[in-house]
């Protein structure tokens, strides 16, 4: 993230999920788009909604931390920061000044797979947003300097401190990434990168990264909201026509090493209460099993009547909180269960209950009401994401990137309509397998006795 946002960014990166719904709702959620390609390869998606005179402009570059090489972790995200520091025709500082003067906001985020840049602005500022985005796509390096890299290196290091090191339990996420995917896997390194690698990144790395990945054919642009599509098409064509094409980016097709056994870790932190993390590598977004696992996260920990909340927090009162969620990605998703023990309770106690409940999913199949609760909740959260144009534009781009169809809502909803108790139970058994997961205990300093037990129960 370029700037401070929600502390729980991870939850926001979980792609929106959809649910089975009445046909009438599906019809209302159809978001028709017009698409075209520029000769330089930029793919453009236009979507009209005139409710409020606002546009969401959203540009995805199909590059994230998965493309980084060893010794340069964090480069994709550091690069994201540098995209705001001026370009050939936009002096340092003016990107934000000009946009704010037009009533616009902007931000960006980097994931393992992609980097997205977005503006929310009054509809009369369309040309300005396209000028700014096209200028940095075409002319970023014209104004890049080692001094700019140095300043943003410091900002990003402070982002790392604020988000991870100085956050209670914050470093757990870094440990989980590094252990869930073995060395050599594109998702092995956390997106934020290591302090050493951030220190090592050079001006030449930045320029090389730009030339290789920030080319029109590796990007897709969505404009959603108060637009006249024909005028928007002309404006995009005008502003992006002088962006040079580049050699196409080849898909990632390295072999994907997998976890072959359970990994158990203990970390000490400056915290009052121990917290247990379980993490699994799960099927990629839209792959078989993906929808089942999204529903499972809610059956396990969505609301008071969910299986884990009910046992750990409500009935036994041995946990302060429990969450389960999936971060969906192109090569592999990640499924997490996280629970904090109450005073006087150990993570071993929590783990035994969680394992028992995961096992129970085979014996006590999810009933219709459990599934309906989950699916209705997913569906409602999806409608909410359609409200603001910048959210809607990002969803259209996400669907386009994953499926080739930005208006993929009906198909996505359809996946959830087909789920049945047996399939959900089978997905839990297959993918939430204790034999291939990471179990991390974060305990107060000096209190390793509160951790989940090592394998075989011994110490």
């Amino acid at each position: 993230m370029k700037r401070r946002a929600c502390r729980f960014l991870r939850l926001l990166t979980v792609a929106a999920v959809l649910a089975a719904s009445p046909l009438s709702l599906r019809a209302q959620l159809s978001m028709p788009c017009r698409m075209f390609d520029l000769p330089n390869g930029l793919h453009v998606i236009l979507h009209e909604d005139h409710t409020v005179p606002v546009i969401g402009v959203n540009l995805w570059y199909h590059v994230g931390s998965a493309r980084e090489r060893a010794g340069r972790t964090g480069l994709a995200h550091l690069f994201e920061h540098l995209m705001f520091e001026g370009s050939g025709h936009v002096p340092l500082g003016r990107f934000d000044e000009w946009l704010e003067a037009a009533g616009g906001d902007n931000n960006a985020s980097t994931s393992v797979d992609r980097t997205n840049y977005f503006e929310s602005a009054p509809s009369n500022a369309l040309d300005l947003t396209l000028f700014l985005e096209s200028d940095r796509m075409a002319f970023l390096v014209d104004s890049m300097t080692p001094a700019k890299v140095d300043i943003q290196r410091d900002v990003v290091k402070n982002e790392r401190r604020e988000t991870y090191e100085n956050q209670p339990y914050g470093e757990a996420w870094l440990l989980l990434d590094e252990n869930l995917f073995p060395p050599g896997h594109p998702y092995h390194s956390p997106v934020i990168g290591s302090m050493d690698d951030l220190t090592a990144a050079t001006y030449d790395d930045v320029v090389g990264f730009f030339r290789r990945y920030y080319i029109p054919s590796n990007a897709s642009l969505v404009i959603a909201g108060d637009i006249n599509p024909e005028e928007a098409r002309k404006a995009v064509t005008r502003w992006f026509s002088d962006v040079p094409a580049g050699p196409p980016v080849q898909p990632l097709n390295a072999p994907l090493p997998r976890l072959t056994s359970e990994r158990r870790l203990v970390a000490e932190d400056r915290v009052q209460l121990p917290r247990l993390y379980m993490a699994w590598a799960t099927p990629a977004q839209f792959a078989p099993g993906n929808a089942e696992l999204n529903v499972l996260s809610l059956i396990l920990a969505g609301g008071k009547n969910s299986r884990l909340y009910r046992r750990l927090v409500y009935d036994l009162r041995i946990a302060q909180d429990v969450t389960a969620f999936q971060e969906e990605n192109e090569l592999s998703s990640k499924f997490y269960i996280v629970a904090t023990a109450r005073e006087g309770h150990t993570l071993g106690e929590l783990e035994r209950i969680i394992d028992a409940e995961l096992g129970n999913l085979s014996g006590i199949l999810p009933d219709r009401r459990e599934i309906a609760r989950a699916v209705n909740t997913i569906q409602a959260s999806f409608v909410d994401r359609m409200e603001r144009m910048y959210d809607r534009a990002d969803q259209l781009n996400a669907y386009f990137t994953a499926t080739g169809n930005p208006d993929y809502f009906a198909e996505d909803l359809g996946r959830y309509g087909k789920l049945d108790p047996d399939g959900i139970s089978a997905a839990a058994k297959k993918y939430l397998d204790p034999a291939v997961r990471v179990v991390l205990s974060v305990v107060p300093a000096g209190r390793k006795d509160l951790a989940a037990e090592p394998p075989e129960g011994g110490k």
Partner: protein
């Protein structure tokens, strides 16, 4: 003919695509904005239920969503003496069973709809809010009615919630931003002012609160004569009124409690409070004082002034501390304008090693904002605030917040349309006058949570003000001990 038209259309496309690479856009200056688009909001509609409850509605039909909020006067500021946290805990417990349903059954009913139904306690208002897809409106409304009119406040659930709250307070001990926030507010407002206390209360008051206290708070403030119903989304007045009439006709009026008075806080001379957090990677900084009330004549000038100081990405604080020096991931300032003057605060988290120079830079900006701002800064702030305003109306939740602002502060129905004029008529003189009144460098409370061994000598050498050293326990009290049945 048909084939000709097709051919022309196809040729048109070819012309556009074919000629595009040759047309270089003019990048010599940023393109000027087009004509300003107007925000055409539907009118704010008013009606009154037969029992006298006002209903305020704003329609929005692009998505099948409705948000309905029952808001009452009376909030955290009405917590009785020694019982800080009652308003907040009342709201929490309104979600723990109502009408014919216990806590689990009630949660199941809400979750089954995929709806969000929450009760809240603000500083001066409380309420309950339903957010749902239109198809589930009728079922959701019944649950909303039950939550507002007949919460059960079961003893057993209070025990659960008390333990959760005390555990949360234990967890604040880990969190530099929570520690800084508690200390900053109690220092600025004092422990007897509601704005000086955490809305949840602290250990002793949380332990003192009983279900009788919750009932009493609910009976006092959740009164039809005290309530307004806000409706936003894919619904019309003619459709919603009969439903509300039917559901809320049984809401019997009682005696509306008078608001509780509290002392006016006083500004204090500048002082630094350093809370030791050994090993902290950053220093959490809060610096500020008493700000303004919502009805202050300075309200609009303060919006513009704060935008320039620390209210946007290009604000002086963020540009200097982040973009020029790289001390931090971000620095910002805010004024919370409430019924009484709320806090003015600058917040940032900086790398431990640069704590002293970062604080010096921060204070320099607080002095500099009292000098005239440049015309460029002024016009950028005016534009940012006014042109961005329509974005608030994209979501039913955003619109409900704006309607709630109208009701809470008695603003006129055309306020949304007047806002831009008010901001644009502020001018540089008033910005400066507001800064002189509201940003007072010799009356600042400066709270720093960080590693004392690494930052104290640097802070000393700034010779700013007396430095008071505190432990985390001195700020938050000892870590609460909790058993199963607290």
């Amino acid at each position: 003919m048909i084939s000709w038209r097709l051919l022309i259309a196809a040729a048109g496309i070819l012309v556009v695509c074919g000629s595009a690479p040759g047309q270089k856009p003019d990048r010599s200056a940023p393109p000027p904005p087009g004509p300003l688009p107007e925000l055409h909001l539907p009118a704010v509609q008013h009606a009154t239920l037969s029992g006298g409850i006002p209903v305020v509605l704003l329609e929005k039909h692009n998505l099948p969503l409705v948000q309905i909020e029952v808001a009452v006067k009376g909030g955290v500021a009405e917590d009785p003496p020694g019982k800080a946290g009652v308003a907040s805990l009342t709201a929490t417990m309104m979600q723990e069973g109502a009408g014919g349903r216990d806590a689990l059954a009630f949660a199941d009913a809400v979750d089954f709809l995929g709806a969000t139904l929450t009760a809240y306690a603000g500083w001066h208002t409380s309420g309950a809010s339903l957010h749902t897809v239109s198809a589930h409106l009728d079922s959701g409304l019944v649950l909303l009615r039950d939550m507002v009119l007949s919460p059960r406040f079961p003893e057993e659930e209070l025990g659960r919630k008390r333990t959760e709250l005390l555990t949360s307070i234990a967890q604040w001990h880990d969190d530099p931003s929570a520690i800084a926030s508690v200390l900053f507010h109690v220092t600025v407002f004092g422990p007897d002012h509601p704005y000086g206390r955490p809305t949840t209360g602290m250990e002793s008051s949380i332990r003192a609160i009983t279900t009788a206290d919750l009932r009493s708070f609910h009976d006092s403030w959740f009164q039809p004569g005290n309530a307004t119903i806000l409706v936003v989304g894919d619904i019309r007045m003619d459709d919603i009124l009969p439903k509300l009439e039917r559901l809320f006709s049984g809401w019997a009026p009682g005696k509306v409690a008078p608001r509780v008075p509290y002392p006016a806080p006083h500004r204090r001379p500048t002082a630094i409070y350093l809370v030791d957090k050994p090993g902290a990677a950053q220093s959490e900084i809060m610096a500020g004082s008493i700000g303004i009330e919502r009805k202050s004549p300075d309200y609009f000038a303060v919006q513009v002034m704060n935008d320039i100081l620390g209210g946007s990405f290009t604000s002086r604080l963020n540009q200097d501390l982040r973009e020029t020096h790289g001390y931090t991931y971000g620095a910002s300032s805010s004024f919370e304008a409430r019924l009484s003057p709320g806090p003015f605060v600058v917040r940032t988290a900086v790398q431990t090693a640069v704590t002293a120079p970062a604080l010096a830079a921060l204070l320099l900006e607080l002095r500099a904002i009292r000098d005239p701002v440049t015309p460029d800064e002024l016009s950028r702030a005016e534009n940012y605030l006014t042109l961005r305003y329509p974005q608030n109306f994209q979501s039913v939740d955003g619109i409900t917040s704006r309607l709630s602002e109208l009701v809470t502060y008695g603003l006129p129905d055309d306020y949304f349309n007047l806002y831009a004029d008010r901001i644009r008529s502020v001018g540089g003189e008033n910005v400066r006058a507001a800064a002189m009144r509201c940003v007072v460098p010799d009356s600042l409370t400066i709270v720093i949570v960080g590693d004392r061994s690494l930052i104290e000598s640097g802070l000393d050498s700034l010779h700013l003000a007396p430095i008071h050293i505190l432990s985390v326990d001195e700020v938050l009290g000892p870590v609460p001990k909790t058993g199963r049945d607290d």
